[in-house]
């Protein structure tokens, strides 16, 4: 029957697609813990994410060499500030990078010390300045030592 010929062509194409699919699909692709709706994925991708590089090492890492500076900081009002917040991520310092770039920018201090009287936020309890009136244009570190936050230099 000639009228079935288009159907055969369609079926042949569908078969080719399915065969190609079975070859091409990664072997670790499948349904995992969360079922087909939320857990249909390539298993090895989880390993790929686990191997993503860690950049921020934390104060516990810094203290191994810079114990004195960390000691100073932790006895000041800035004791809750992580070293890397201002010094940048350690990565595998001192191998790479050899030196960390310190952000001396006024804007860095203003993140917390711009006066914002927000009644429902702890921000209102931080000592602050009006950046337009308090020595505009000057770096804060000229007068204030961030490691000994309470007293001026």
């Amino acid at each position: 029957m000639h009228i079935l010929r288009p159907l055969f062509v369609v079926l042949a194409i569908a078969a080719i697609i399915l065969i190609a699919r079975s070859i091409w699909i990664p072997s670790d692709f499948g349904i995992h813990e969360r079922g087909y709706t939320y857990g249909w994925y390539r298993q090895s991708n989880i390993e790929e994410w686990k191997n993503f590089t860690v950049k921020y090492q934390g104060r516990e890492f810094c203290v191994t060499c810079h114990a004195e500076q960390v000691q100073k900081l932790t006895s000041s009002k800035h004791k809750n500030i992580e070293c890397e917040n201002c010094h940048g991520p350690a990565l595998s310092h001192p191998a790479d990078p050899l030196k960390l770039v310190l952000d001396r920018n006024r804007e860095l201090c203003l993140r917390c010390h711009t006066n914002l009287f927000y009644p429902n936020s702890q921000r209102s309890q931080i000592k602050g300045i009006n950046p337009d009136q308090h020595n505009p244009g000057l770096e804060c570190v000229l007068c204030h030592n961030p490691h000994e936050a309470s007293k001026p230099r």
Binding site: H2, I3, R5, P6, A14, R21
Partner: protein, 416 residues
């Protein structure tokens, strides 16, 4: 800056990652699939229900639907950030996603249209193949033509009356099967939007139905428009002969054209009424129930998008052509602007859904303005700009011209 910031302008409170991620190509996508579905439904009106005055436009609409069908996935491909991975949708489909079945639906629908075309033109394919086979010393072009036509016959060379009758039956079956699939293909595009629960403008169960109705409107309008242009060209060619025989042919063409057009217009108006009613129902319902999102939706619909929705879509794209079509004494000259406006109206409807749905923030207290990239600065701004949209709009016509070489729908007349 991210690519999307090139065409997104934010105002008031918008989440930082919000941009207009679905831009002009996603406007083109439902517009093109809508034309596919509409053209097919028009052709089925004749093939399935035997509405005689639609005979010529129906044959042509089927071929055009196939040309449009081949272009329909292209806007999606141009939109993808990783187009080289597009086949992964077939490789590891995740059917809880409304997009995952797109390939399957398109393949099934494409098969139906292709099969219907094959039955419609099998006799022609066989005739060409036999004629060229007997010809000695063929030129290269003829050799290619012979090969293409012979392969396309799929070896079914029997063109006896009995087998042609079987073909006609098959066409009827396929036309019948095709209508629900065509509606599904496009209703499905509506579902892709309608099922996004995070988007207050898109999420409505009416979306698929609204999409189907406006799809049929646009498909019928485009086919009528091209039909009129083709008939105009025929008339022009005949009138240059300037003899009495030409005069009678001209009259014949005219009367055929009028009867076809008048019948098509009836269907066009019918589907337009349906489409507009549904859209207005959606609008009224949203305003009346006025849930949390209505405040921002009202600002978008009656404020920032007022021109796009009420002036361009409803007034220019619906009301004006509606009046032009309904005025007594239908003239071809009046029909052309009316049809162009109908097409424009459906395009604006797609625009207002896709872009309008992203013109307000998930915060419900901010807006995003879309600025279509007109002059491309690179591949990305071409793809997601005016150039890419025009490319998609022009391609079906080029494909139709090529398809017409194999399925000569314009030169031949179908059997009654």
């Amino acid at each position: 800056m991210v690519l999307e910031s090139l065409w997104t302008v934010k105002e008031f409170f918008v989440y930082p990652n919000e941009y207009i991620y679905w831009a002009i190509q996603i406007v083109m996508y439902p517009f093109m699939t809508g034309l596919v579905a509409g053209a097919f439904v028009l052709s089925s009106l004749y093939h399935l229900f035997g509405i005689k005055p639609l005979k010529e436009i129906a044959r042509f609409a089927l071929v055009f639907s196939f040309a449009l069908l081949m272009v329909a996935p292209l806007p999606l491909l141009l939109h993808l950030a990783q187009p080289q991975r597009s086949l992964y949708v077939g490789l590891t489909p995740h059917f809880t996603s409304a997009i995952a079945a797109f390939g399957v639906v398109l393949f099934v629908y494409g098969s139906v249209v292709a099969a219907e075309l094959w039955f419609l033109f099998r006799k022609h394919l066989v005739e060409v193949s036999i004629e060229l086979k007997s010809k000695t010393n063929k030129s290269l072009a003829e050799k290619i033509k012979y090969m293409v036509h012979t392969i396309l016959t799929l070896g079914a060379m029997d063109v006896s009356d009995a087998s042609l009758k079987l073909d006609a039956k098959a066409i009827k079956v396929l036309a019948g099967v095709g209508v629900p699939i065509a509606c599904f293909l496009h209703g499905y595009a509506g579902f892709i939007f309608g099922s996004v629960k995070a988007n207050a403008l898109w999420m409505t169960p009416l979306m698929p139905v609204i999409f189907i109705m406006s799809a049929i409107v646009s498909g019928v309008a485009l086919c009528m428009l091209i039909y009129i242009i083709i008939m105009g060209m025929k008339k022009f060619i005949v009138s240059r002969k300037n003899d009495s025989a030409a005069l009678s042919t001209l009259k014949e063409i005219n009367s055929e054209e009028i009867s076809t057009v008048q019948t098509s217009v009836k269907y066009l108006i019918f589907f337009m009424i349906f489409s507009i009613s549904l859209e207005l129902l959606d609008l009224v319902f949203r305003g009346y129930t006025a849930v949390k999102s209505w405040d921002i939706l009202r600002n978008v619909i009656y404020g920032t998008d007022f021109i796009n929705i009420f002036l361009l879509q409803y007034l220019m794209g619906n009301l004006v052509p509606f009046i032009l079509l309904l005025l007594p004494g239908l003239k071809i000259r009046r029909l052309i602007p009316a049809l162009l406006l109908v097409l424009f109206g459906v395009f604006m409807m797609r625009w207002n859904v896709v872009i309008g749905g992203q013109s307000f923030s998930l915060t419900f207290s901010g807006y995003m303005d879309y600025q279509l990239p007109i002059i491309p600065h690179g591949l990305e701004t071409f793809k997601e700009g005016l150039g890419g949209a025009l490319l998609i709009a022009v391609l079906p016509f080029i494909l139709f011209w090529i398809l017409n070489k194999i399925f000569p729908v314009l030169q031949t007349k179908g059997p009654d």
